[in-house]
Amino acid sequence: MASPRRHGGIEALPGGAGIRAWARRHAYSFLSSLGALTRQPIASAMTLIVLAVALTLPTALHVALENVRAVSQNWERLDTLSVFLDQEIEEEPARRLGSRLTLWEQIAAVDPISPEQGLADLTGQLALDNVAEELASALPDQPLPWVLEVTPEDTVVVSSLVSRLEREEGVSSVVVDLKWLERLDAMIAVLGQLIGLLAVLFAVGVAFIIANTIRMDIQNRREEIEVMALVGATPAFIRRPFLYTGLWYGLIGGTLAWLTVRFGLIALSGPVGELSGSYNADFQLRPPAIEIIVLLIAGSGLFGVLGSWLVVNQHLKRINP
């Protein structure tokens, strides 16, 4: 046994020092904290459910946002430019211009669309199949110009390509509908900030939910705490089981939140697959990144410890004058 230490001139009991004594005290706190969770299973379960719900919300929002971001990146890549040619340009020069453009390094593909096809697409999109012929006959010859659908290479700066295309002979106008994508990006950025703020709020919420649960646990075990203090337990020893309990609440709450999000994604994957299939896209929901999962679980564990620390210290001051 280690030689007795002295504390403020008071000799400690044998067993008070040494790594093994330290380990034994920690083992005692560890087991004692698990006991606290199982002693009142319904109350513990309710706290855990509240924590899981509170943590699921920001996590789910984050996952949703990440998925929207992924989709929008796909859209940007798929985006094409519509090059409207002058009205008087006929099929032959239009196709010649088209094949000339395919030689540009910045351009991946060119798809010429005849006025007839354009009209058919238009009426088709408007579900006006039966009126297409009527419309075609009612309108003057060639109501629409030839259009070249240009797909740029992935790395190309779209604006410079647009200005180059506009300088070409026979090009009337180039339509790029990127504005809404820019707005979407901006919106995603704003939502991202918002979710960050929400995550901070919920983390504070988690700390206080756990603090409140620990506070009730302390009240239930007031007698035990006082007796422990009476027979010479150090504040650290009394505090430790509660800190562990806070840690468990945080870790389990975080894990439950992660599982909820994971099961939510599995449940949504079917409908989302159908939806993306209807757009001829192959989009799959992305699960949260591993860093996010670690952040979620470790973070809520940390805030659990923090919350219980606040309450236990406040209570301990009253016992030791």
Binding site: G8, G16, A21, V231
Partner: protein, 231 residues
């Protein structure tokens, strides 16, 4: 071992529990502390175990002023003092064994050592067969003895008892006092707060008398033996 020098304790709200108390308790001595309820007996014991700090004066434990002890050293002082309460202060959701083992658990003693010493302590108070029971299953006297086992398991040099016989019948009380006398024989300093005057008189030990927070009498053991009853 214990010395009070002009000790006063005033609680918030202006209640004067003790005023100018002076006495000394030598190493290995056994003394009774008596007086009406509200005379300040419990407060005096609480000052020794540093459950309270004195408002004025000094409480010396082994020559050290405990009133000035830093908060972080308090637990180590309490490990040197065994305390027995009238209401036992046992943990009702823990077995007798675990109740008695608590001071050793806190000190980080190995489980084998704990087991050995708890058995020995329970054997000493005659409750070895009750180690697996919960305190509410025991009688008042048995619970009190569990409390004593817990107080002595850490082998503290000083034992404080606050009305240990308060809830016990006379026969049980006498038996309990015998335990204290035996412990005292082994060299433990003991201070017992009690108003069981018959019992105190019979034992003929030193008696400190408190009245309204003041030490009004200090009767050495012989004087009590001579039959100079006090109350």
């Amino acid at each position: 071992m214990i010395r009070f020098e002009h000790v006063a304790k005033r609680y918030p709200g202006g209640i004067q529990a003790l005023s100018d108390v002076n006495f000394e308790l030598a190493n290995g001595e056994l003394a009774f502390l008596t007086g009406h309820s509200g005379a300040g007996k419990s407060t005096l014991l609480r000052l020794i175990a540093l459950l309270e700090r004195p408002s004025r004066g000094q409480v010396l434990f082994d020559g050290r002023n405990v009133g000035k002890l830093a908060r972080r050293h308090i637990p180590y002082l309490r490990r040197r003092v065994g305390i027995i309460f009238q209401d036992h202060r046992l943990l009702s959701d823990k077995k007798v064994f675990d109740n008695v083992a608590l001071p050793l658990m806190i000190a980080g003693v190995s489980y084998r050592e704990i087991k050995r010493r708890v058995r020995a302590a329970l054997d000493k108070v005659g409750l070895l067969d009750k180690e697996g029971m919960y305190p509410p299953m025991l009688s008042g006297g048995q619970q009190q003895r569990v409390g004593i086992a817990r107080a002595i398991i850490g082998k503290p040099p000083l034992l404080l008892a606050d009305e240990p016989t308060g809830n016990l019948d006379p026969e049980m009380s006498a038996e309990l006092m015998n335990y204290f006398l035996q412990l005292n024989e082994l060299g433990v300093t003991i201070l017992i707060a009690s108003h069981d005057l018959d019992l105190i008189r019979r034992l003929g030990r030193r008696v400190l008398v408190l009245k309204d927070g003041s030490m009004v009498d200090d009767l050495p053991s012989r004087q009590v033996l001579a039959g100079d009853g006090h109350g």
